[in-house]
C-alpha cells in the first residue's frame, strides 16, 4: 500500500480536519419524485472518493446538485466551508468545482482545442491557458494529435479523454467524474482509470461516480454505496471491496 502512503504525504492533505466538500442531509426532488433522500457525505482534500450504486440510485443527481444544475429542497452543501446551494452553476465552477458529465457531453461541433478553451472559460490569462492546454496534451497525447479535429469525430475513449481534459482546464480543486467508464471497451476502461489515478497524483481531489464498482473501489480512498436515493453503507475502498454484502450486490459474486 505504498500508493496509500504517498497520498497521505501529499501537502494538501494537511487540513484534514475540515473537508473540502461537505454534503449535509440534502433532499432533491424532480417534480414530485423524491430522488435524493437526505444524504450526507464528505470529501477531504487530496482524496479519491467514489459513489457507487445501481442505475437510478441518485448518483448523477447528487453530482448535478453539487454543480448547481439542481437545487436541494433542504440540506446544505459546503465547499471550502462556504455554502454553495444558492450559487448559480457558472459561479460554482469559479469556486473550483469541475464536473465531467455523464455521457461526456463534449461540444461535438467544435474542435478539440476549442473544447479545451471552453474548459478554461473562467481563466482570463491567455498564456496560462496555452500552458494548461499543453499540460492536458501531455496527459492525453491523443488529444494533441487530434487538436484540430471536430470533437464529434473522436472515438468514445478519446471523447472521454477530451471531457476530462476540458474539466481540468478550469484548474479545479475538486474534480467530479460521472461514469467515465460508461460505454467503453474494457481495455479503454483500464486506461481511463489509470489516467484518473495519474490526475490524482498531480494533486487533484476526485469525486468519482461509477457503476463499475470494482474499478472505482480499487482506486478510491473511500466509497459510499447508494441505493434509491440513500447512502446505505460507507467505508474505505479496500473494506468495501472485500465486504461480502457489497460483493453480492455490486461486484457480481
Amino acid at each position: 500500500m505504498s500508493e496509500q502512503n504517498k497520498k497521505e504525504a501529499l501537502p494538501q492533505n494537511k487540513n484534514g480536519a475540515s473537508p473540502l466538500l461537505k454534503v449535509d442531509n440534502i433532499n432533491v426532488y424532480y417534480g414530485s419524485i423524491h430522488a435524493i433522500k437526505g444524504i450526507s457525505f464528505e470529501v477531504k482534500s487530496g482524496e479519491i472518493v467514489t459513489l457507487i450504486g445501481a442505475n437510478g440510485a441518485g448518483k448523477s443527481t447528487t453530482l448535478n446538485t453539487i454543480s448547481g444544475l439542481l437545487h436541494p429542497t433542504t440540506g446544505d452543501i459546503n465547499f471550502l466551508e462556504h455554502s454553495i446551494v444558492k450559487i448559480q452553476p457558472h459561479k460554482i465552477v469559479e469556486q473550483g468545482i469541475a464536473q465531467v458529465p455523464e455521457g461526456r457531453r463534449i461540444f461535438a461541433q467544435m474542435t478539440v482545442r476549442e473544447n479545451l478553451e471552453m474548459g478554461a472559460y473562467i481563466q482570463s490569462d491567455g498564456n496560462e491557458i496555452k500552458n494548461d492546454i499543453e499540460k492536458v496534451y501531455e496527459l492525453f497525447p491523443r488529444l494533441k494529435e487530434r487538436r484540430k479535429q471536430i470533437a464529434g469525430t473522436l472515438s468514445g475513449g478519446e471523447q472521454q479523454m477530451l471531457a476530462m481534459g476540458r474539466a481540468l482546464m478550469s484548474r479545479p480543486k475538486l474534480l467530479m467524474l460521472d461514469e467515465p467508464s460508461m460505454g467503453l471497451a474494457p481495455i479503454l476502461v483500464e486506461q481511463i482509470f489509470k489516467i484518473i489515478a495519474d490526475v490524482h497524483k498531480t494533486g487533484a481531489t476526485i469525486l468519482l461516480v461509477e457503476q463499475n464498482a470494482q474499478m472505482a473501489l480499487s482506486i478510491a480512498d473511500r466509497g459510499y454505496v447508494m441505493e434509491t436515493g440513500k447512502i446505505i453503507t460507507t467505508g474505505t475502498g479496500k473494506d468495501l471491496l472485500s465486504s461480502d454484502e457489497i460483493k453480492k450486490a455490486y461486484l457480481g459474486g
Binding site: 444544475l69 452553476p89 457558472h90 458529465p101 463534449i106 474548459g119 478550469s170
Partner: protein
C-alpha cells in the same frame, strides 16, 4: 443589361433580408426559439432613425447609431421580461409569447406614432452610379446596403469563430448544461445574442426604409417574415445558410416581380421555399440533427 440591374437589386434586397435573418438565426441557434417580434424591432429602429434625422435634424450616422443603441436595449429588455421566465416552458408557449410581443410593439408604435405613413429620408443622398451609357444604374443606397451586409457578415463570422464570447455562444447553442459546467453564464450569453440581433435589426430598418421609404407600424412584419423564411430556406441556425438563403430569396423576389408579376412575386417566393424544403428538409446548408434517445 436589365437582367443585371434586376440581379443587383435582388442582391441588395437579399442583403437587407440577410441582416434581419441573422437575428432570427442566431437567436434560434442559441435560445432554440423563433423570435417573431424580431421584425417589429426593425420598425422601431426605423422610427428612431426617422425622428433623429427628419425631426431633430441630426446627421444620418447619429440617427443610425441611436437606433442601434435603442434597439439593442429593447432586445435585451424583451428577452429579460418576456422570454427568460419561459426558459423551461414548452416551445409553443414561447412562440405564442413572441407573437404577443410582436403585436405589443406594433400597437405601441401605432399609439406613439399613429398609422399615417412617414416618408423616410434616406440615410445617404439619393443618386446612382451609371455604367454603359446609363443602361446599368446602381444607386448609392444599393451599394451601401450590399457593403454593409458583407461587412457585418465578415465581422460576425470572425466574432463567432474566433472570440471567447463567440465560442461561448456556440457552446451554449450545442449544450447549455455542459456550457454551464464550463463556467459560462448561459443567461448572459442569451442576452448578448438578443442584443446583437436587435442591434442588427436597427441597421436593417434604416437600410430598408432608405430603399423603400414608406414607414408605418407594420413596416417590419413582412420583411421579418421573409427573412425568417430565407433563414429556414438556408438552414435555420446556420449563419452562412441564412446569408445564402437571403440573397437567393432577394434575387428570386426581384426577378418574379420584374418578369412575372409584382402581385405574384411573394407567391413565387414561397413556392420556391416549399420546393426547396421538400427536397432538402434541413434547408440548403442546414444540418440534419438526429434526436438521440
Amino acid at each position: 443589361m436589365t437582367f443585371l440591374n434586376f440581379f443587383i437589386n435582388g442582391i441588395s434586397l437579399g442583403s437587407i433580408y440577410a441582416i434581419i435573418a441573422l437575428g432570427y438565426t442566431m437567436v434560434y441557434g442559441i435560445a432554440k426559439m423563433l423570435n417573431f417580434a424580431h421584425g417589429d424591432v426593425i420598425m422601431i429602429g426605423a422610427y428612431v432613425c426617422f425622428y433623429a434625422i427628419s425631426r431633430y435634424k441630426l446627421p444620418a450616422f447619429v440617427g443610425v447609431i441611436g437606433a442601434v443603441l435603442i434597439c439593442t436595449i429593447l432586445g435585451i429588455i424583451v428577452e429579460r421580461l418576456a422570454y427568460k421566465p419561459l426558459r423551461q416552458a414548452p416551445s409553443l408557449a414561447v412562440l405564442i409569447t413572441a407573437i404577443g410581443v410582436s403585436y405589443l410593439l406594433q400597437n405601441s408604435a401605432l399609439l406613439m406614432w399613429s398609422s399615417n405613413p412617414k416618408f423616410f429620408k434616406p440615410i445617404i443622398a439619393r443618386g446612382a452610379f451609371k455604367f454603359f451609357d446609363g443602361q446599368l444604374s446602381i444607386s448609392h443606397i444599393t451599394i451601401l446596403t450590399i457593403a454593409t451586409c458583407v461587412l457585418i457578415m465578415i465581422a460576425l463570422s470572425v466574432f463567432i469563430n474566433r472570440s471567447r464570447l463567440g465560442k461561448a455562444m456556440r457552446a451554449c447553442s450545442e449544450d447549455k448544461g455542459a456550457a454551464q459546467l464550463m463556467g459560462i453564464n448561459v443567461n448572459a450569453t442569451i442576452s448578448l445574442t438578443f442584443a446583437i440581433g436587435s442591434g442588427l435589426a436597427a441597421i436593417a430598418g434604416a437600410l430598408l426604409c432608405s430603399a423603400y421609404p414608406t414607414l408605418t407600424p407594420t413596416t417590419g412584419s413582412l420583411p421579418g417574415i421573409k427573412a425568417f423564411t430565407a433563414a429556414v430556406f438556408g438552414g435555420i441556425g446556420s449563419i452562412p445558410g441564412a446569408f445564402l438563403g437571403c440573397l437567393m430569396l432577394g434575387v428570386i423576389e426581384i426577378f418574379a416581380k420584374s418578369y412575372i408579376s409584382s402581385q405574384l412575386s411573394d407567391a413565387v417566393v414561397f413556392a420556391v421555399l416549399i420546393i426547396v424544403l421538400l427536397v432538402k428538409p434541413a434547408g440548403l446548408l442546414g444540418r440534419m440533427t438526429q434526436e438521440k434517445v
